[in-house]
């Protein structure tokens, strides 16, 4: 049993997610990701259950662990009570802890998620926040969304929201002290730590790829990871 395997075992989800796999393929059969990505959750489970560090390391650096959509359909079906989805979450966690995520195109995208969803959580108290969902970042939101963005305040008013207001209600302003509590929780539970790791590993990778990376979502590296798809992930 290898060092990396031990680290995985520390993740409660891994312990929950992995019993003996008999490679029946039920997970891959139902997996939406396996349907489009060159990806096979069965093989991932089979690999980690070998407890072989080299192959686990390979996984941590690979593209393949980033294809899962975490819909958890696999958990519903597994005849051995495994949850490949959870195992993959554990692998992703470890990959970020150890900084291997920057070795894969899909892994590098973690910075994009951190700088959008991740930062919104702490700055607004929401996972996704109206002001951030711009047409530039989300052209597929279509004309209606342009209209929404142009009339945010009025529209929410019309629909009975409480945009940036006090008290309860839709898109209300989350009180400062609440946000402080959140920050504190992140601090205590290693959330901030995770954020910093993502930032620092990404910065060094950006240097290595010599793409400039500043804060926010405008710099070269960010645009690169947000948009690049080398087309080798699907058929």
């Amino acid at each position: 049993m290898g060092k990396l395997y031990d680290l995985l075992l520390e993740d409660i989800r891994f312990e929950e997610g992995l019993n003996a796999c008999m490679n029946c393929g039920v997970c891959t059969a139902i997996c939406p990701a396996a349907e489009f990505y060159i990806y096979d959750p069965r093989k991932i489970v089979d690999t980690v259950q070998t407890k072989d560090d080299d192959s686990i390391l390979e996984l941590l650096k690979s593209e393949t662990i980033w294809y899962c959509g975490e819909c958890m359909s696999c958990k519903t079906r597994c005849p051995r009570g495994n949850a490949p989805g959870l195992i993959i979450m554990a692998l992703r966690g470890l990959s970020q802890e150890l900084g291997y995520f920057v070795e894969s195109e899909k892994g590098r995208q973690q910075l994009a998620i951190k700088r959008t969803v991740g930062d919104w959580i702490l700055s607004t108290g929401y996972c996704v926040y109206l002001d951030g969902i711009t047409i530039a970042m989300h052209p597929e939101q279509g004309p209606v969304w342009e209209w929404v963005q142009d009339n945010k305040a009025a529209l929410l008013e019309r629909l009975g929201g409480n945009y940036k207001g006090d008290g309860p209600g839709i898109l209300r302003k989350i009180p400062e002290e609440t946000l402080d509590e959140l920050k504190k929780i992140f601090e205590v539970t290693g959330g901030l730590d995770r954020y910093e790791k993502i930032e620092s590993f990404s910065k060094s990778k950006a240097k290595e790829m010599n793409l400039e990376l500043t804060d926010g979502i405008e710099s070269e590296y960010f645009k690169h990871i947000y948009k690049t798809n080398n087309g080798t992930h699907t058929r």
């Binding site: 396996a34 349907e35 489009f36 990505y37 052209p139 597929e140 948009k227 699907t234 058929r235």
Partner: protein
């Protein structure tokens, strides 16, 4: 790249209905032992070509049977026909003839020409 910055992914499932089993049927007709494979992998384990590249006769057999002809067509070229596989096969499958027939089947079919 379009204005959305991505294109719709194509599925990679084996779609049994839409695939053509022409190659497989040709082999079934001319080499009945093709049916006998139990996918044990002995052939792939001993394979001379497989020693250098990702070539698996076991997988090839399956892909032929499923009608994944494009993939078959590509990996078919890697075989060296050395015949080790036929010596280790526990079901006495005439493995070399399968490769040869597959090649022939592709030649007889029109859609596989440059």
């Amino acid at each position: 790249m379009n204005k959305f910055g991505f294109t719709i992914s194509q599925g990679r499932q084996i779609d049994y209905e839409s695939n053509s089993r022409r190659i497989a049927d040709y082999i079934y007709d001319n080499e009945p032992s093709f049916r006998l494979c139990i996918e044990c992998g002995a052939c792939s384990a001993t394979c001379t070509a497989g020693n250098f590249t990702s070539f698996s006769l076991r997988e090839l057999n399956i892909l032929i049977k499923r009608g994944e002809n494009d993939q078959v067509y590509q990996s078919l070229k890697k075989c060296m026909l050395c015949g080790k596989c036929s010596l280790v096969c526990p079901r006495g499958v005439n493995t070399r003839n399968i490769i040869i027939l597959a090649k022939k089947a592709f030649q007889l079919s029109d859609e596989y020409t440059v």
